[in-house]
């Protein structure tokens, strides 16, 4: 949520900011997942059923990112930020 606006603030184009943000979140997620796994918060096998459809979605998303209008990408991201903020407030 912070990586995209910060990259854009640094002059990165919208599409590149969204793609590059994944490069930041992936290694950080590896560390977080390691901590969760170490604490025994979940079993690895619980994630297996979601992997194949998730990978298919990732391929479609990557194809879309090349073609999607950057203004719609900005709008979608703004809506996701608002939705995520509301969810954090009400959970």
């Amino acid at each position: 949520m912070l990586a995209v606006p910060l990259l854009e603030f640094d002059g990165t184009q919208t599409r590149k900011a969204h793609a590059s943000s994944i490069g930041i979140t992936l290694p950080l997620s590896v560390i977080s997942a390691g901590v969760y796994w170490y604490k025994g918060s979940f079993a690895l096998k619980d994630a297996y059923p979601y992997l194949l459809p998730g990978l298919a979605g990732a391929v479609l998303g990557a194809l879309c990112l090349k073609k999607i209008s950057s203004i719609w990408l900005e709008r979608a991201f703004a809506l996701v930020m608002i939705a995520f903020g509301v969810r954090l407030l009400v959970k």
Binding site: A19, G23, A47, L51, L55, A58, L89
Partner: protein, 131 residues
């Protein structure tokens, strides 16, 4: 039918994650509200789920020359230190107020970005971004 709903949630999450829109929220909402899973377990599954999806998306985006590796390297290094530190301190500091403050920030920043996007130009008028 629950496996269909799970597959749809995972597919949508994959699309949003690959678009850099932080799709994890969709899977977490599905796991907690529809699969009756505990929040911590859902977050853990979402994290593990994200790793291969993000890796694949990153490979495809790099092939499409959309990743600014030189720019993000410092962020990866400092972010890794911050995540390691926050993981160690997670149980020692009250995170409730921090979370609420972050939520308000997200809502305000999202609303601002939305207004700005409508002020800039309409999608029909938008020209392709320079490469």
């Amino acid at each position: 039918m629950s496996w269909v709903a799970g597959a749809v949630a995972a597919f949508l999450t994959g699309i949003l994650a690959s678009l850099g829109l932080g799709g994890g929220m969709v899977l977490i909402i599905y796991l907690t509200l529809f699969a009756s899973m505990a929040q911590l377990q859902a977050q853990g599954i979402n994290l593990i789920f994200f790793l291969p999806i993000a890796a694949l998306a990153l490979i495809l985006h790099t092939k499409n020359k959309l990743v600014e590796w030189k720019k993000i390297l410092p962020a990866i290094l400092t972010g890794s230190v911050a995540v390691s530190f926050s993981s160690l301190c997670a149980n020692r500091i009250g995170s409730d107020w921090l979370q609420k403050a972050f939520a308000v920030f997200l809502i305000l920043a999202g609303a601002y970005a939305l207004v700005q996007s409508f002020r800039k130009k309409s999608p029909a008028q938008e020209n392709q971004e320079p490469k």
